[in-house]
Amino acid sequence: MARLNSPEALEKLRQEITAGRDPDKPCITLCSGTACNANGSEKIAPVFAAEIEKQGLKGEVDLRRTGCHGFCERGPIVVIYPEEICYLQVQPGDAAEIVQSIKEKKLVERLLYKDASGARIAHEPEIPFYKNQQQVVFGFNRKIDPRSIDDYLAVGGYRALAKVLFKMTPEQVLEEVKKANLRGRGGGGFPTGRKWETTRDAPGEPKYVIVNADEGDPGAYMDRSLLEGNPHSVLEGLIIGAYAIGSHQGFIYVRAEYPLAVENVNIAIRQAREYGLLGENILGSGFGFTIDVHRGAGAFVSGESSALMTAIEGKVGEPRPKYVRTAVSGIWDRPSNLNNVETWANVPLIIGRGADWFASIGTKGSKGTKIFSLVGKVNNTGLVEVPMGVTLRRIIFDIGGGIPGGKKFKAVQTGGPSGGMIPEKFLDAPVDFDELTKLDSMMGSGGMIVMDEDTCVVDVARYFIDFLCDESCGKCVPCREGLKHMREILNDIVGGRGKPGDIELMEGLSKIMARASLCALGQTAPNPVMTTIHYFRDEYEAHVNEKRCPALVCKELIAYHIDPARCQACMICGRECPVNAISGGKGIIHVIDQQKCTRCGTCLDVCPARFRAVTKLSGEPVPAAIPERERVLVREKK
């Protein structure tokens, strides 16, 4: 492919690409993100290709594998253009019928979305999950093949880059980003323009720009989906930032756990280089820029800016004290600007559509949209993009479709291990950087883990502390030792060994860790504990004082019991019990031997729903087994 040497050449190529594409030609798009691949999308693609050929539609129907659409719960997702007919949970066996339906201009009813009333919805944008979103950054994911730069060009890609290189000075670019008031999407919400300016003005050459794709926050995966599904948008943002900052070398630091993202971004870099959109003299502008991809190796703490930069140097990715910010002294002590994937992906949009457009979306202090990873105990799990300021209720109930199984909402966890748990009473709070901070949580990178009444907040707090204990690099004492002790206390509490004073002890420990830890990991580590104590103190007290787990989760505090009035002596639980703790036989009511029981919960899972004989108890004695002679089940005559 010939290098493009001018913005005119880029536009000409774009016209050629779009001219060669008929917008009315049917196109089958198949979501091929990691989640859909996990659901079998990889196996479906070749079946579709074969089916198109078999039904004699080769050349008449296109097939495109796109990035993640967001509705991962219902993947693999197939959307037929131009009508945008959306089929969910498509299996290889459905391909023939779908291809035929295109030929006959019909719908495959059974694969359409079914709403609460049972009505089918055919068009993707009309599905409630999508209808209530505003997909600005994420929207192109479903339209383009991430491995095709031509697809990205066809939707206007790299136009913003041409604009900055030929029509704007670096200062103007900087001003535009500042005016848009873009704030970092990775956690802290620091104003991006100001960060860029610091690096630009810092003494020392060369300067570096970095994409943080070390999305370690468990429960969050928007950066993975963006980098996998639209890598060029991230590259374009990065090159624009480099131009504004005066950098000629960039890095993309990707988690090793994201192999598909690594693969797709490497392909994108190669393609951009071939077109002359990367490398020396980009589009003939005289500006040169190269990008290296650096894989992480599984360390949460390495997502912290100074740690990440140390890792790029090839050393152990541990944080250092930031008396001098990394924007001034980062990789090899040179000025280094770090932003996460989503932040960079916003940049071409701001340049292309203008700061005023961007600033018109969102709230006073938080502009633009935010992608959230809506997961946990919610019906429609997946990625959702909404304007800043939308309420939690709208996200969880209107988009997410509420809590499965008619359960009650309990809390939503935002901000990952540094964030907090927000209880029901704040469901109408608008979601933006400042509002979430006011609720003692934080935006973080956008993980939103919904918890229902069956989730024990003490157990979740312990989960986070356990996670952080594992991930703490151990360099500073407050974090290393503080977490360890916190874990011990929490293990005692969930294990029924909690003592009066434990809660207060954790509060004291939290204060010290927050003030004395070296990096943000340690400083924010107590947050999951602090917010749960703040909002759910009664649950902690129930664990400590009554040895009771109100959510019936903590293994050591619960018991399984078979209700003799409901047991139909079907023997299923007895057969499945891994430790043979259930006695009884055919026609003899089953009883769990509490001594033998390991509380694995298998009996509860397998007891037929029509019997519901197995129950969980906590904080009360298990009823004594009924006498032997009464155990013989007398079935009612039908």
Partner: protein, 152 residues
């Protein structure tokens, strides 16, 4: 061993001989052999001019690297938050019982290694586990045994 070192040298040749490539190199070696041996570390040290102690420090710090031989198949059970609230712990317990090992260990027949991973980024499908390169979503303890049977 000679062939292994030849392969290691091949991997090293792909990179410029700079200390900054160390992590990338070790990841490739890990990917190739499923673990990083003492001899390999010595070889990398000689070629890059990085002390053995520093390489050990890097290799022991990161979760993606193993200093012990691992099994033919690596089972990664995700214990991310989304998977956790959907019962990943029970999945892990079942896996431990079935394989008879704890996370970080390898079965005696060297067939399986078990690892816990903090998030695979498939949160919508939780609980998730990854066996070699295959993702298995919406896992239940009951599906563990049938899935493992497919890995010979």
């Amino acid at each position: 061993m000679a062939t292994q070192l030849a392969k290691v040298n091949e991997i090293i040749d792909k990179y410029p001989a700079r200390p900054s490539v160390l992590i990338q190199l070790l990841l490739d070696i890990q990917g190739q052999f499923n673990w990083i041996s003492r001899e390999t570390i010595q070889c990398v040290s000689d070629r890059l001019g990085v002390p053995v102690s520093q390489i050990y420090r890097v290799a022991s710090f990161y979760k993606a690297m193993s200093l012990k031989p691992r099994g033919k198949h690596v089972v990664n059970v995700c214990l991310g938050t989304a998977c956790h609230v959907r019962g990943a712990n029970r999945l892990m317990s079942k896996m431990e019982d079935t394989l008879g090992i704890k996370p970080g260990e390898t079965t005696e027949d060297k067939k399986f290694s078990l690892e816990r991973v903090n998030c695979l980024g498939c949160c919508a499908l939780g609980p998730v586990m990854l066996v070699d390169k295959d993702y298995h979503g919406k896992m239940t303890p009951a599906r563990v045994e049938p899935i493992l049977k497919d890995y010979k």
